[in-house]
């Protein structure tokens, strides 16, 4: 076996651990909603963070974006201003290059760090009692995104939600009737689900949670994604 090949295998084994194995794939409708830009802001944050941790979700997201590319290519063209190109060239010359969100080496992926203003140690926690803490990151009339810390072995406080709730594990793990959710795993629960996750022993569990409490999320979804664009 040549050296390159051995390195390749070693590197492959290494990379297998970089993003987690998919136990609980995110529903197509959510990925498509993220690809089209139709989701509440709080959900965009969870998906940007999840996709940063899970290459399977990234491949599916980019497939939905490929449909967007096909739609763009298929557009009837609009008339553009006569001096459009010249104005664009001038705009180009005055623009500063923007660095893309590079991979993070911390607990929080880059898009989450951008909202928090740093990694885990920068979170401004508020106690909810019983060792449980939360930090609301973003909230508007469509939804709320928050970080939740549950001490190892403790149960998440009982809560109800009218719409959809997305819970992304960033550290530690929790267990509920659907199984164990570890770093990178995303649980999507609708109002019908009555669950009380319990943090696994050994490590505190930190999750990014988004809810669309004030507006039922189902009405916002491009539901066409579900039955007939299944990827």
């Amino acid at each position: 076996m040549c050296r390159t090949m051995r390195n390749e295998i070693r590197s492959y084994q290494k990379t297998r651990h970089m993003t987690h194995d998919v136990q609980h794939p995110v529903p197509d409708a959510l990925l498509m909603g993220y690809a089209t830009g139709a989701l509440p802001q709080a959900f965009d944050l969870v998906l940007a963070t999840h996709v940063s941790l899970c290459d399977d979700a990234r491949a599916r997201l980019e497939t939905f974006e490929a449909i967007g590319g096909a739609v763009l290519e298929d557009m009837d063209v609009a008339d553009i201003a006569e001096d459009s190109l010249d104005r664009t060239l001038a705009l180009m010359d005055g623009m500063q290059p923007v660095a893309p969100p590079a991979p993070s080496s911390g607990t929080f992926p880059t898009p989450l760090q951008a909202i928090v203003g740093g990694d885990e140690d920068a979170v401004r926690w508020r106690s909810l009692g019983g060792g449980v803490k939360q930090s609301v990151l973003q909230s508007d009339k469509y939804g709320t995104a928050r970080l939740l810390l549950i001490p190892a072995g403790r149960a998440m406080p009982p809560h109800s939600h009218r719409g959809t709730e997305m819970t992304l594990v960033l550290k530690g793990a929790f267990r509920d009737e659907d199984g164990v959710f570890a770093r990178g795993d995303l649980e999507v629960a609708d109002a019908a689900v009555n669950h009380q996750p319990i943090a696994e022993a050994g490590e505190d569990c930190i999750c990014l949670v988004a809810t669309d409490a004030r507006l039922r999320f189902q009405s916002l979804l491009p539901r066409i994604a579900q039955p007939f664009l299944g990827i």
């Binding site: 802001q41 944050l45 491949a59 967007g68 609009a78 590079a102 880059t110 990827i231």
Partner: protein, 215 residues
């Protein structure tokens, strides 16, 4: 076959695309002759590469002539008035110039990549917030996309566009409206038969290779 698929996934022969030297007689992949349309996809990739590597303004002008009117139409359909759509389109195209070096042709067609820039700008302007993007996965300095992967992905994208064009009008409109962000059209339709499985596997493969190169 135009290019050998190297098992290491670390070929640097993407330059064949970048050079624009796409000789049609040699442009055959895995026994299949590439159609004129697929050739076009590869040409867009070559122009992006000319922008990224040489700041080539004539390549930019060609991309602009093709995509700017489509981006503007997309923004109008998404709810922007003509003047906002014009300004926003110029901004999208100028962003393309500055981000050209980030474009990965083994994961997206040029149209797809422009769509993502236009969508983000649209959210900025119409919904007034900066949509968070996933972490960017860069190719390391010693690596670049495998040329065979690039050609295959661009062919897949071309096939997807063709399949969308062949859908019954009603289904096609439903998909368009979902991408314009017009969600009142959320009816359920039958299976479309869009070739999404192959493109997903292709992107997954490109991501695996990218992870190796980062490892």
């Amino acid at each position: 076959m135009l290019l050998e698929t190297n098992h290491t996934g670390r070929t640097s022969d993407a330059g064949i695309l970048a050079s624009g030297g796409l000789d049609t007689a040699r442009y055959e992949v895995r026994g299949k002759i590439v159609t004129a349309n697929e050739h076009t996809e590869a040409q867009w990739v070559a122009k992006m590469s000319a922008i990224a590597q040489n700041k080539d303004r004539s390549a930019f002008a060609e991309i602009f002539r093709h995509f700017a009117p489509r981006v503007k139409a997309f923004l109008i359909k998404s709810g922007a008035d003509r003047s906002l759509a014009e300004d926003c389109m110029q901004d999208v195209m100028a962003t393309l110039w500055h981000k050209a070096h980030l474009y990965d042709p083994s994961r997206a067609s040029v149209a797809t990549w422009i769509f993502t820039i236009a969508r983000n700008r649209k959210i900025d302007l119409l919904r007034k917030y900066a949509r968070p993007d996933p972490e960017h996965l860069p190719w390391g300095p010693e690596h670049e996309p495998n040329a065979a992967d690039v050609i295959a992905l661009q062919q897949d994208a071309s096939r997807l566009a063709a399949a969308l064009g062949k859908l019954p009008a009603k289904q096609r409109e439903l998909i368009q409206h979902a991408y314009f962000g017009d969600l009142s059209h959320s009816e359920i339709a039958d299976k479309t038969g869009l070739p999404l499985g192959t493109i997903k596997s292709r992107i997954r493969l490109a991501l695996d290779r990218l992870r190796h190169s980062m490892g």
